[in-house]
């Protein structure tokens, strides 16, 4: 059994807002749902599958009701919550459901407003008494990975800075990007230290906003007007300290989700023309590139240096919308926007200055949770038909 080629992404929408004091979170979900449904050329009453994660107010059943989805038709729901990569996991689950005949038009939404509203609390895990007092945050839980990666492999702050530099080169062409200025390695190194060894410019932005996808059958996708983009491989995985045995914070769960996706797709990292790689922090990108097999473990620093991730300059154009480092990071969850830019690249709808020529194979990969504590990863490989 495989989902290869059994589901297509027929509709996409990214909310242009980065600051939404005048909107509710549910409203943002509705706006991105409407956008993706209209992009596909469908009606909301066509939707028979709905996918959402922890950012959806109240979860699936309040959202299905609020969004006014057709409950006579809706026959599949999934509220898998794996932080920022939830939506990449949803994409795979939607393909599974479509392949199994459980739904034919799936809507996936993400939205929220960390800049102008309260963030939903996360339920405590079994580890709470043994960890919560130590103040793990995104910054320091990624900082501890960077610190160990530098120790084990000699990775440098300059190399990490190149990831931000590349993102900024792309963001200058995105009218919606929060940070449009092109920055240099020196700018990154001179920005204030937030949590050693990560500087402010190693960190992504905090933004309001959201995005949505429509995933459907090959037959329905072919009946619509958009360029055809199909899912050909998918993987998911999780990693944690697991009792404290053989702790190694220099790799992510992407080391398992990546090969699963590539194997299903029947391609290798060398075939990828464009990569959307979750960039909560620069170290996130570097470790994931290694884990996905774009370079050997420990050689990520060399791989990302000297503009290798800049479209039209380097070998692996990445995050051509400016990514989380420069454009947006809706609800502190970057998985959705990774898929959206990958689809734009495959459709040929990226900004002309960053559009990859003959872009027929792309990857969208993300991490959710805290890289240095417990996290999930998901990998999607997409092909233009």
């Amino acid at each position: 059994m495989t989902i290869k080629g059994k589901a297509y992404i027929a509709g996409i929408f990214e909310h242009p807002t980065r600051h939404a004091p005048d909107k509710s979170t549910a409203q943002l979900h509705a706006e991105v749902a409407k956008g993706a449904i209209e992009d596909a050329g469908l009606s909301k009453d066509d939707v028979d599958g709905y996918f959402c994660a922890g950012d959806a107010p109240g979860g699936a059943w309040p959202m299905v009701d609020y969004l006014g989805l057709n409950t006579r038709k809706l026959r599949h729901v999934d509220s898998t919550e794996t932080g920022g990569c939830s939506y990449i996991i949803h994409l795979g689950h939607a393909a599974e459901a479509i392949a199994a005949g459980k739904c034919s038009i799936a809507l996936i939404t993400l939205a929220g407003k960390p800049r102008t509203g309260a963030m939903p609390p996360r339920a405590a895990g079994a580890e709470a008494d043994f960890e919560s007092a130590y103040g793990a945050t995104t910054h320091n839980a990624y900082g501890i990975c960077a610190m160990r990666h530098m120790h084990d492999y000699g990775t440098t702050s300059e190399q990490l800075a190149w990831i931000k530099v590349a993102a900024s080169h792309h963001a200058q062409y995105n009218p919606h990007a929060m940070l449009k200025d092109v920055v240099t390695v020196e700018d990154v190194l001179n920005s204030p230290m937030i949590s050693d060894p990560l500087h402010r410019m190693d960190c992504c932005v905090v933004s309001d906003g959201g995005g949505a996808l429509i995933v459907t059958t090959p037959e329905i996708a072919k009946s619509l007007k958009k360029p055809l983009v199909k899912l050909i491989g998918h993987g998911e995985a999780m990693k944690g300290p697991r009792g404290g045995k053989d702790l190694d914070l220099t790799y992510s769960a992407g080391i398992w989700s990546g090969p699963r996706a590539f194997e299903e797709a029947g391609i290798t990292p060398k075939d990828i023309k464009y990569a959307s790689i979750y960039d909560s922090f620069t170290i996130t990108v570097l470790m994931q590139l290694e884990d996905l097999g774009f370079c050997k473990k420990g050689e990520g620093g060399k791989f990302v240096a000297d503009g290798n991730l800049i479209s039209g300059v380097g070998k692996l154009p990445f995050n051509t919308d400016g990514g989380g480092l420069c454009s947006n990071h809706p609800v502190n969850r970057g998985g959705m926007t990774k898929i959206l830019e990958a689809v734009r690249q495959l459709r040929g709808e990226a900004h002309p200055k960053v559009q990859v020529k003959n872009c027929d194979l792309a990857i969208a990969h993300g991490t959710g949770g805290l890289l240095g504590v417990r996290h999930a990863a998901s990998t999607a490989i997409l092909e233009r038909v």
Binding site: Y134, A136, R148, I194, D196, P241, G243, G244, K245, L247
Partner: protein
């Protein structure tokens, strides 16, 4: 300084109550599985490695080395250093480093456990030897 910081009291539960009771006596406990011989942390009733329920409490030396660390430069309660310690007995665990110059921490540095009070059982932290 971190000494002034107020830490939350552990909620505790039947599975971990013995850990917190021992902490009140200044003892730092880990769990060891008598079936596979592996020690683990935080403590579970069922061994996470072999799924045996023959896990027993064992007092740790409280000694270990810094696996990694990061100094959070700003927070509402001031700077703090988070990281992992690898205990002499094997398991690695998340902690804060305290009672030292937080800018001089190093991977591989030797540390030992030190308890800090809460309104309930005290919490384990680590400080350079």
């Amino acid at each position: 300084m971190s000494e002034a910081k107020k830490y939350p009291a552990p909620v505790t539960n039947p599975e971990t109550a013995a850990f917190w009771d021992a902490a009140k006596q200044g003892k730092f406990m880990i769990k060891r599985c008598t079936a596979c011989g592996e020690a683990h942390y935080f403590p579970r009733a069922i061994c996470p490695f072999c799924y045996s329920d023959k896990t027993v409490w064992e007092e740790s030396s409280g000694e270990g080395t810094i696996y990694t660390w990061s100094l959070m430069r700003k927070s509402p309660t001031g700077p703090y250093a988070i990281g992992y310690v690898t205990l002499k007995e094997g398991p690695s665990l998340q902690t804060n480093f305290v009672d030292c110059d937080l800018t001089t921490l190093k991977i591989g540095q030797k540390v030992k456990v030190v308890f800090k009070p809460t309104d309930g059982a005290p919490l384990p932290f680590f400080t350079p030897v």
